[in-house]
Symmetry: C3
Subunit: 139 residues, 3 copies
C-alpha cells in the first residue's frame, strides 16, 4: 500500500463552477496505482467542491444561479460584512456544498460516473487561485 | 492492510430516500476486516447520498418534502430543461446533499450511530437502478 | 501503513457551531504519523459537521442564523413533530451540511487552510454530548 499527496491550484475568474477533473486525473495517472482512494480537499471557506454533470454547461450555470437566489447578498442579513456582500454568502454556500470529496480509484482511474466532473465552486466575485490538496492511498 | 472495491445497484421507484445500509453491511461482513474505512460513492448527478434517521419513516418523507419546497420545479428558473422539470432540480438537490460518504469500521461493523441509516436520495420521478461504488481499506 | 480509531465527545449548549479542531489535533499529534488521511464522523442525525472560518466569530453566528431562516420551525410543515419543533429541522440541517469529513495529513498536521476550523453544528436547543469517531490511516 502506498500513499502520495500533492497540492494543485485552480484559477477562478469570479463566481461559478470550474471543472478541474483533468488536473486530478493527470496527477493520478503519474502515480501508477490501480486501486485506491483519492481525496480532494479545498483549503478555503469561500470556495468549495462539487461533483456535477459535465455534459451540458447550462447545468453549472443553473446551479450557480440557484445558489445566488438561495443565499441573498442583502448585507442587512449578516454581521460579517467587512469584506463585502459576497463574503458571508461565500461561507454559507461553502457549507451547503463540500469542502472535501473522496473518489474510489478503479483500474487506475477515478471511478466517476459517465457524466460526472469534479468542480471548484468559486463563491467570490474576484478572481482567485484556489489551493486544493490531493491525497491518494492505494496500490 | 487490505483494500477491496465493489459495485452495487440500488433500485429506486421515484423521488425519495432508499435505505441501502443492509446491502453495504452484507458486503462488508464478507470482507472479514476489523478496522478500516468504507467509502460509498454515487456515480450519478441526479441522485445522491445522505445519512439519516432510520427509526421513523416520517423523517425521510419530511426531508424529501423539504427539498421539494426548497428547489422549485418551475422550469422558467432554469436553462437546462430538455430532460424535464425534474432534471435540473435533481442536479441541485444532489449538490446540496452528498455524492460520497466515508464511514469508519469498528469491530467489523460500520461505526454508525444508533439511529443512522445510509440512503440513496433519488431526485427523479422515474424509477432508476443507481450505481454505487464501495471502497474499503483496513485490516 | 498504520491505522487508528478514537471516539471523542463534543459538548454542546444549544444551537450553533462548536470548534473542536484542537481536540482532533491533540489526538493526531499523539499518533506520530507524518502523512495520511483523518476521517471525522458524527454519529448523530440532529447534529452535523462543517469546516468554516475560525477567525471572526460573526461568521459562525451568521451561518447558524441562515439555517434558522432556511429551515422553518413551523411544525405544520412536518409529519415528524413528536420530539418538538427543533427535531425535524435538525435532520434537515444535518442533511444540508456534513456527517463526515476527511482531511489529509501533511507533516504530521491536518492540511487545513489558514482560516479553516472543524466544527460540530448543533441543531437542537438542548445541550448534548456529541459522539464523533476519528479514523486515521497513514504512516
Amino acid at each position: 500500500m502506498k500513499q502520495a499527496t500533492h497540492q494543485i491550484y485552480v484559477p477562478t475568474r469570479g463566481k461559478g463552477l470550474y471543472d478541474f477533473t483533468a488536473q486530478v486525473e493527470s496527477w493520478l495517472a503519474a502515480q501508477k496505482l490501480q486501486t485506491g482512494l483519492l481525496t480532494v480537499f479545498c483549503q478555503h471557506t469561500s470556495a468549495s467542491l462539487v461533483i456535477q454533470e459535465n455534459a451540458d454547461p447550462d447545468v453549472v450555470a443553473d446551479l450557480a444561479d440557484f445558489f445566488g437566489r438561495l443565499v441573498s447578498e442583502d448585507t442587512r442579513l449578516y454581521r460579517h460584512t467587512a469584506e463585502g456582500p459576497d463574503d458571508m454568502t461565500s461561507h454559507i454556500r461553502s457549507a451547503l456544498t463540500q469542502t472535501q470529496l473522496s473518489i474510489p480509484i478503479h483500474n487506475g482511474r477515478l471511478a466517476l460516473g459517465t457524466w460526472q466532473g469534479v468542480y471548484v465552486f468559486e463563491h467570490r466575485e474576484r478572481a482567485h487561485r484556489r489551493s486544493v490538496i490531493l491525497h491518494l492511498l492505494g496500490e
